[in-house]
Subunit: 275 residues, 2 copies
């Protein structure tokens, strides 16, 4: 999917919501456990109920790997379902991979070609030749970890490197990578005030923002500091939506929570694009 | 496996060789492609021929994920075979994972509990709460990326952070993590001269050293600067050993290459522990 197609979807749906499909068998409605593939059944129901309210889905691969072969099968079925039924939706493999050149190419093929996700999250620690293999895929996107939403982000990411915070070095250096136009960035909502600085370095890039809701970030603040002329934001919510209920009404409850966020996003969009 | 058990194996075998099981179906002998599970057949033959010459095996998960469900099955069979037939061998899941707390716990369970590897490689970018979940497993080891062997290592790892290279900050900060005694570190052999500095910070830790051979690093140099009183080194070789031949004699050829390295290691051990 091209960035323009994503922007069109955002404008059409008045939503820049990404729903995190982080499925934990201990948290889903227990009646689903009788199904052949409870994870896929859960995802399918959530997708069917929410696809008109969001523009992206993001399964975190850890939740699927946790169930071994069965989990990988559920992941395959989920992305195939999305690509067949909702090709207009932007898909993110939240895999946080990164390895030396040839090995990164293997990861890139798995997620961007074989599973046919639109994008994959990548860790920047190993530098250029670990990231560029992901950038080589046309109309696919590499979402680089810049400033994450967890406490550990302060261990290294915010430390000063040659006069500038490490996450800023990551942003600036990554702009020099081949095919850098395929880059997006993870920036945690719990650090919304950093977004103004970040927009100085990457005014045009899309940001994937986790941490709104469960982790305490504010949608309003994120939009204030992070929105650009092309919106430029995907706001992720996982637990707050998919575990809104663990009864038989879980999909409707998820849709209700997604709808609340979508309405807030519509308000933000009208503020930013009328003024 | 405890660190002491690993050291005992090194002394017994006069070897600190780790063999990287990075299996690419395009590079293995073509007669194996007729087998049910060519990757496992290849690994089993290599393991049977080399287990007395090395103390560790390290499958890089990218090579298995690349083949989807089949690949994961081959990885499962390989680690089960190792744990059943050669429980004295140290096993490394080279997965380079790392995510926020709960999600890192899921990855840790997959590799250290379900697949029962002795250790897993982890990327440090997300800091303390992304690493500590891996450290919580008793007699298991977390091998943190410090200074990698690729060119991209110079993008961020060697940059100066608060007066010190980032990889040194990673070493120092990680020493403060809960259960830090379960840490080992990846340090590339292509940067052997850095090892003296590294030993100032972490005199006692084991280092996993890729990049000897194919990537140009020297065993002698690595031992000169990196060996400590408990040896403290695992030197990895992948392609140089497992692809020594792609004919029917591939396992014997792998054993010959492994044996050459083991002999050089025996010489290094005798130098360092007699003087």
């Amino acid at each position: 999917m091209t960035t323009n197609q994503l922007i069109q979807q955002i404008k059409k749906k008045k939503s820049f919501l990404c729903i995190g499909l982080d499925v934990d068998l201990n948290k889903i409605p227990q009646h689903l456990l009788k199904e052949d593939d409870p994870i896929f059944s859960f995802n399918k129901a959530v997708i069917d109920a929410t696809h008109h309210l969001c523009v992206a889905y993001k399964p975190n691969t850890a939740f699927y790997e946790a169930y071994g072969l069965k989990g990988w099968k559920s992941l395959e079925k989920t992305i195939r379902y999305l690509n067949e039924k909702h090709p207009e939706i932007f898909t993110i493999a939240d895999a946080k991979r990164g390895d030396i050149g040839n090995t990164s190419t293997m990861y890139a093929k798995v997620f961007l070609e074989d599973l046919a996700f639109d994008s994959v999250t990548v860790a920047p620690y190993m530098g250029k030749d670990s990231v560029e293999p992901f950038l080589a895929f046309k109309d696919k996107h590499t979402i680089l970890l810049a400033l994450t939403s967890n406490q550990g982000a302060f261990d290294f990411q915010t430390k000063t490197v040659d006069g500038k915070a490490l996450y800023k070095q990551v942003l600036e250096t990554s702009k020099t990578y081949t095919n850098s136009e395929n880059l997006m960035y993870v920036v945690g909502a719990t650090k919304a005030e950093y977004l103004a600085d970040i927009r100085q370095i990457i005014p045009d890039s899309f940001l994937l923002v986790p941490g709104v809701g469960a982790q305490g970030g504010s949608l309003k603040e994120v939009c204030k500091y992070g929105m650009n002329a092309q919106v430029g934001l995907l706001i992720n919510s996982s637990r707050g939506i998919i575990y809104a209920s663990n009864e038989t009404d879980f999909a409707e409850a998820a849709a209700l929570k997604a709808s609340e966020l979508q309405k807030q996003m519509a308000v933000e969009l009208s503020h930013h694009f009328i003024n």
